[in-house]
Symmetry: D2
Subunit: 351 residues, 4 copies
């Protein structure tokens, strides 16, 4: 850590800080500059709450040197994490495709969609049974009934299930049906939920918050990892910016940078990230080119009748076309993608 | 609602939409323009999910005309809401000052602070017992022990208590001690929590999310109001922007605009909004001048030893100076502020 | 255009607006809704200054229906514009690669770089002779001397030249050397400069402003087009957001969306957009996958000695590797890319 | 400056950097930490281009310690700058009020407005003769004719004139009429213009760019100061954020923080900052409370007929009411404001 003192900081303020740091078993090195004094700190600064230091007299700036997350960092684990769920691998060389409707609406809708997306290689069925909605007057999902419909549809098509859990109290219920628990963007900093998920071993798809910095995104993952659950899958879904022509801003740089900073698998959601069906395909291809480990895509057999987010859903035909386009892009970045229906999921090993 | 069709939209697409709207008991009025056709819709568009419409063929744009929130809107209730808690009024002519440390650290710290801020007119004691923290390795608060300390301190100084509830399961516990339940910025869209708070009558201080639009902020309030709890107090605490020199960006316009859009009381948090002790006083004065109904301010007897957010806490002396400066500003905008210690809280009426 | 009146707007205010619109030869259609009156306007609303309307009594919102730009819009010209400069085509099926150092530093540096990037297919040499710098104390470029060095280097390697013009008074000078005049992001709304460039026929590479909306970006292009110069090349270089881990945020959606909205060629600058050499290659591939018509990349033979922006420059070896990776990605989106040195530029036709 | 090396940086990379710094007459101090090595640099780092360092092998981060601007900084000059123009003081104890229409439309309009605003204390007449417009099809102002009208109006009411100069070539022309030259937000980084203004002694009102950081804003001022013109007046006019309910986001913190960082006078433009006439008054009062040295306000005798920005103009009556409200707010922050018509401007001293 580097502490930059204000101009003209008196010696007793500097000494006060040095004493404070020494008490914390850190080694402070004062450097007397032309205009200012700087105190460099040797030791593990993460043990220190920097806000104390910022409040001390004559302190100008406090600049951390180490990243605040450890378990999520590639510095701690250089090798890509690969999460294997019943034979489906997430991370590493394989591209994983998750697809399905925004909301589970009926058995027919979800079964039909599952069959359609599995036919060209989607391995994981997405769909909302518990839906977070901005306003209190919108459709909120079929809850457990919806989970049952997903389960049936997934089984018919040999798929796994990813679906959102909105509250710590629902973890057990949703875990009965789902293979991956999704934490929605609005809940990325719901620490109660993160802590509870850290106590399970269930894979978690953690969506980036609407205005989370990459550091905060990885710190949210750290909550789950620190609890003892190593199965965290990151999900980039765009951020909020001044640009109002699309639902969100999907940053190419953030995809590549997240892969640089962390060993965790990264899935991109081009549907929420753009909010426009016509942009899903280019955004999906670009995400793969930028280094994503997979995609989660909204597909609806009849987008205009979708009970939510119809404007960003693509049809099964468009999905198929996209899957074929992905092959050469995947190859260009040394990734494998399968266009064949998934095999029956392997029995999970007992833990 | 206004539906703008794409250029060259065929007649059958237009007819399809008209039929859809009529089925929903709305009255569509097609307007054939020079370059495009526009369909104006008469009726309560809030009954309609606009996303369906966006997904229909040849639809270019869908523009809602009515605001999506009703109960929070000044159009529904032109008069300012005044919330009376044991004799302390929030909203209307009176400025309400909430003050206290970021975290409750010890009985001495909280009692001392309470006495100091009550002495110049603060009526409500703030302090964190359950603390949301960005990383999993930081101090998280003394939990119920902290609530007990707050209760004691508040009682000694005739103050009310506002403190955060982070999880729906803690509402009962926190309600035993607190007069106002705070929903933190990271939980503004935790709909489970909002719905549960809607079922109580307990006053709620709802903090604006880090990147919430005003519309979303008022929709979050609508969740609580729609559940049957009319006692919602809005709290502006700045938003995240590209400006990185301060913790957040506190928008003058948002303060004035929120008061225009809604009848609910609005409290400003200049401490989190700026993140710098030196800016708290000008930001507080400016908030009052812009129309805020009160302030929530971090005060710590010894900021440099604070266990959290010390760099943005002011001392009791600085708080006192600020209270005196507020008097003429309050007068300039027709608000009253008291500089005397609060009276004993009135017994709450049975409901 | 749609004019939404405030609730309870009196009839005389509505009549006043109707009369105003009729005077302007537009056809107003009042629609009396349940809660509000809406006036739909038939005719070319671009002839109207909407700000007048917004200031009229009882007007709530004014929503334009048509896009404010015409010449840049794909609605006006559905087919891709292809700009042919001495045989090098920009737009359409071909990917165009512009490469070179941030600043022209010496004859040796620029010639060496030109040879290196031309060897694997770059056709256009980039390099700054006039450099805009955030602070007044930084290196500002070699001015005309630098242009001469570029000219020599480009000639040796059969390349064309793109370089920035910072002031309308320099257009003639820079045009003597450059084939494409670049307008920097900071000058995207320098209307004097845009108007003067509209009077020439010289191709213009117009960089998107740091916080320009897509609409404003296309309106800036419209300035040049409206002046009579059809040779506008758009350049996406990322926008400023709260995300501070990278220099800028390069939006995948913006690339795809710009191609949807406009027929003009779109070049992406992955170097400025990410500000990190390690992210240039994934960002470049992703841009192509998203639909870009080419790239402008900073390449420096020795990035650590670069006089500006060394941290985002890649080496000639990295550039070569990137060019090879681009081939399959280009194929996946139906684009051609050449890996062979450019032919001698064709003599420009007299105009 | 602090240079943080990557983990495992080899000794020769560290030595390479140390040698480089020593060559530049700086004193590098290497600090070997637990996980990383940090090199602290003693000396005036502003002489160094940090981008070189960032491009060097094994360099992780480069953190400047000193601010990049000198002349604009309060560290260099602790005392408030007061600019005296013909007896009107800007900065220090006095609040300066600039008011007038967005565009000069006719002699009658400008004279009428001048009289109205001078009557309650405005000392400086604002008005656009050269108007920057986002699209090429909008009204661009009456140019020199407009300047003549302003001159006449200002003279009648004993006011000074502030008006925009959009191009370096117009400085002489505009200077003949104006007392203060305004640099618009879109031109804040038009370095040609800034440099030319640095060569004059004419007071400059420098508007903050739409997405300029405070550091960049002060660096733009530094351009003018470094050229030899000490008469720079900063103007805050809001920034662009995701919040789309108002034209811009006016940051309370930015006002107070700019006054902390710089000794230059700061004027706030509540009209452009909010874009809504109803918010001008609260935003103006809040700006004063936050520490601004004055205001620049759009006033139009008949806002609905304004040729530009009518929706954010207030009427002379509203202006008068605002001036009266400002008195107690000004007093609360130790500022003086005059409600009487200005005296005849003093003859400028020869320089």
């Amino acid at each position: 850590m580097i502490i930059v003192m204000k101009q003209g900081a008196p010696k007793e303020h500097i000494d006060h800080i040095i004493a404070h740091l020494q008490k914390k078993n850190l080694e402070p090195v004062p450097l007397i500059g032309v205009e200012r004094t700087v105190i460099a700190v040797i030791g593990d600064e993460r043990l220190l709450d920097t806000k104390h230091l910022r409040a001390m007299p004559s302190v100008g700036q406090v600049m951390p040197v180490l990243r605040p997350y450890k378990l999520a960092s590639r510095e701690t684990q250089p090798k890509d994490t690969v999460i294997n769920i019943k034979g489906v691998k997430i991370g590493g060389k394989d591209l994983t495709i998750m697809a399905g409707p925004c909301s589970v609406e009926s058995q027919e809708q979800i079964s039909l969609t599952a069959r359609a997306v599995a036919a060209t290689g989607a391995q994981i069925l997405r769909g909302g049974a518990f839906k977070p909605r901005t306003g209190p007057y919108s459709f909120e999902g079929h809850k457990e009934e919806g989970l049952k419909m997903m389960k049936k549809a997934a089984k018919e098509s040999n798929m796994l299930i990813v679906t959102e859990v909105m509250d710590a109290r629902d973890i057990d219920l949703v875990s009965k049906y789902a293979d991956i628990l999704q934490v929605g963007a609005r809940n990325m900093q719901n620490y109660t939920l993160l802590r509870e998920l850290g106590k399970t071993k269930k894979p978690v798809l953690l969506k980036r918050g609407l205005c989370a910095k990459l550091k905060e995104f990885l710190l949210a993952a750290e909550y789950i990892l620190a609890g003892g659950n190593p199965n965290v899958i990151l999900c980039e879904r765009g951020i909020r910016t001044y640009e109002d022509d699309m639902r969100n801003t999907l940053s190419i740089g953030a995809i590549a940078r997240t892969k640089e900073l962390s060993h965790l698998p990264l899935i991109v959601d081009p549907s929420h990230a753009t909010g426009r069906a016509s942009l899903v395909s280019p955004a999906a291809l670009a995400s793969i080119a930028a280094g994503a480990d997979g995609l989660i895509i909204e597909v609806h057999p009849n987008p205009e009748e979708a009970l939510s987010d119809g404007d960003q859903s693509i049809t099964p035909e468009q999905f198929k076309e996209l899957m074929y386009k992905m092959v050469p892009v995947a190859a260009a970045v040394n990734k494998r993608i399968s266009l064949t229906p998934p095999d029956e999921p392997k029995k999970p090993k007992k833990r």
